[in-house]
Structure formats: structure tokens, C-alpha cells
């Protein structure tokens, strides 16, 4: 099994990174390269859509952590949309990223994006 990565623009300066398949030692470098590029763009929120992510190892976690740190360093954020139970178990074991929001479904994510948009407008 391999990894398919799809990047799609969402509302505001947000991007959805959909991961389909396995994120392991072999496939992680490809995601890392994509994320290095993505983070350098004017993006405020990167949401990892893990609906179809079947497997994640520490190599995969490392890439997600790295992107989260990079986003935070530039005043942005990451989020996660939908984790399959075996993925959630891995995150729970390493107590990964307690400060990253996890959206159970698209509605929750859209609410968050709307809220973010509103905050930007309020601040202006």
C-alpha cells in the first residue's frame, strides 16, 4: 500500500491535505516535501484529512509534528479531520499534539474555518 496526497484549497487561507493509504517510513518523505512547500505559501490553516488514512508510524507522526511546528512558528495552525480508530490509538499512545484541533466531520471543520474567518474580520 502506498500514500496518495491531495491538496485542496478551503475557505480563507486554508488548505486541506487529504491522506489516502499508509504514512510510514517509506511514504513520509514525499509528504514532508509537499508540506515543506505548502507551509512556505501564504496559508493560515492546514487541515490533515485522515478519513482514508489506514496506517501511521512514528515517521509519519514526525512529518505532521514538523509541519505543525512550522505553521505555529509563522502564526498559523494545523488541524486534523477524522481519524480512523487505529490512527487515534497511535496518537493517544504518544499523546500527540494535544493543542491541535480534531474535527469529527466536515461540518465541525467548516464551523472552525468560519470562526477563524470571523476573527480575522473582527480584528480588521
Amino acid at each position: 500500500m502506498s500514500l496518495t496526497i491531495k491538496i485542496k484549497a478551503e475557505q480563507g487561507a486554508s488548505k486541506r491535505v487529504s491522506l489516502n493509504g499508509r504514512l510510514d517510513t517509506i511514504t513520509a518523505p514525499e509528504l514532508e516535501a509537499e508540506l515543506d512547500t505548502l507551509v512556505s505559501e501564504p496559508v493560515q490553516l492546514v487541515v490533515f484529512d485522515m478519513t482514508d488514512l489506514e496506517y501511521i508510524s512514528s515517521a509519519g507522526l514526525r512529518v505532521i509534528f514538523k509541519a505543525t511546528k512550522a505553521m505555529k512558528a509563522k502564526g498559523g495552525k494545523t488541524g486534523i479531520l477524522k481519524m480512523q480508530p487505529q490512527i487515534k490509538k497511535v496518537f493517544d499512545i504518544v499523546k500527540a499534539l494535544p493543542d491541535v484541533p480534531i474535527f469529527k466531520n466536515d461540518d465541525e471543520m467548516d464551523d472552525y474555518l468560519n470562526h477563524m474567518q470571523q476573527q480575522v474580520l473582527d480584528d480588521q
Binding site: D24, T25, I26, E54, Y55, S57, S58, A59, L61, R62, F65, K66, T68, K69, K72, A73, T78, Q86, V90, I93, V94, K95, A96, L97, P98, D99, V100
Partner: protein
């Protein structure tokens, strides 16, 4: 332990695929539950990647011997390598649960190996690290 299957890989990360395929096949042959197989895959990946990344000081090719065995209750994987003496579980877990700015990026494989397997055994014998990991299934 019966139903033994052995394979040998070299110390290159691309060899992980060979291990994955062999373990996948072995689990299917022995009708191992998908979730259990997935967790075993993860433990195996973390262990073999540790060996490949940290075991060798030289740039030579080394062989890693891997054996699967199982009975009605348990599946075991044994890794044997001639890297420098190293027990992956002798390392402390990195601090877990830190916010992203402070979170450790490395060492996350160790808690995964511990929590996703039921027994682990390490010995250094005749110039080889021998690490055996077992997982129970219903």
C-alpha cells in the same frame, strides 16, 4: 512456536517494503485479525527502522534476519542483526503530551513498540542483537 517463516533483508530503508509484504502475507495465512496485524506491522517497522538508522557506523551492507512464528494465541517476530549492541527499549520514552512547539520529534517509536506488543525480549549473543517481540490475539 510453530509455523516459522524466515526472511533476510539488508540495512536499507527501502527493504521495509519486503518486510511489510512478508508480514502481511504471514498474517493472512494465519488468519490474524486485521487490527492485530496492523499493530504488528507498526511494531516491526519501528524496530527495523531503528536498526537500519542507528545500528551501523559504517556504510557497508549488513544483513538483518527476521523470523515470524505463531501458535493459537500469539505471534512473535524475532530480529537478529550484527549492528552495535543496542536494546531499543533501554532508551527512555521522550516526554509525551507536550504542545507542538515543544514536542519531541524523535523517539516516538519506543512507546509504540511497548504499548502495541505484549512481550519484548532482548539479548546480545555472539555478536548479534536479538530482539523478540510478541503479540497475543484472541
Amino acid at each position: 512456536m510453530h509455523n516459522r517463516h524466515q526472511l533476510q533483508i539488508t540495512n536499507r530503508l527501502t527493504e521495509l517494503e519486503a518486510l511489510q509484504d512478508a508480514l502481511q502475507q504471514y498474517c493472512e495465512q494465519h488468519a490474524i485479525d486485521r487490527d492485530v496485524a496492523g499493530e504488528l506491522m507498526l511494531v516491526a517497522e519501528e524496530l527495523v527502522v531503528n536498526i537500519i538508522n542507528y545500528g551501523y557506523q559504517d556504510h557497508s551492507e549488513h544483513k538483518i534476519d527476521i523470523a515470524f512464528s505463531c501458535n493459537a494465541r500469539q505471534l512473535s517476530i524475532c530480529f537478529s542483526d550484527d549492528a552495535k549492541p543496542f536494546n531499543p527499549l533501554s532508551q527512555h520514552d521522550p516526554e509525551l503530551g507536550l504542545p507542538s512547539e515543544e514536542a519531541a520529534i524523535g523517539g516516538l517509536g519506543i512507546p509504540l513498540i511497548r504499548r502495541l506488543s505484549d512481550a519484548q525480549h532482548y539479548e546480545y549473543k555472539e555478536g548479534h542483537n536479538i530482539f523478540t517481540v510478541s503479540k497475543n490475539f484472541g
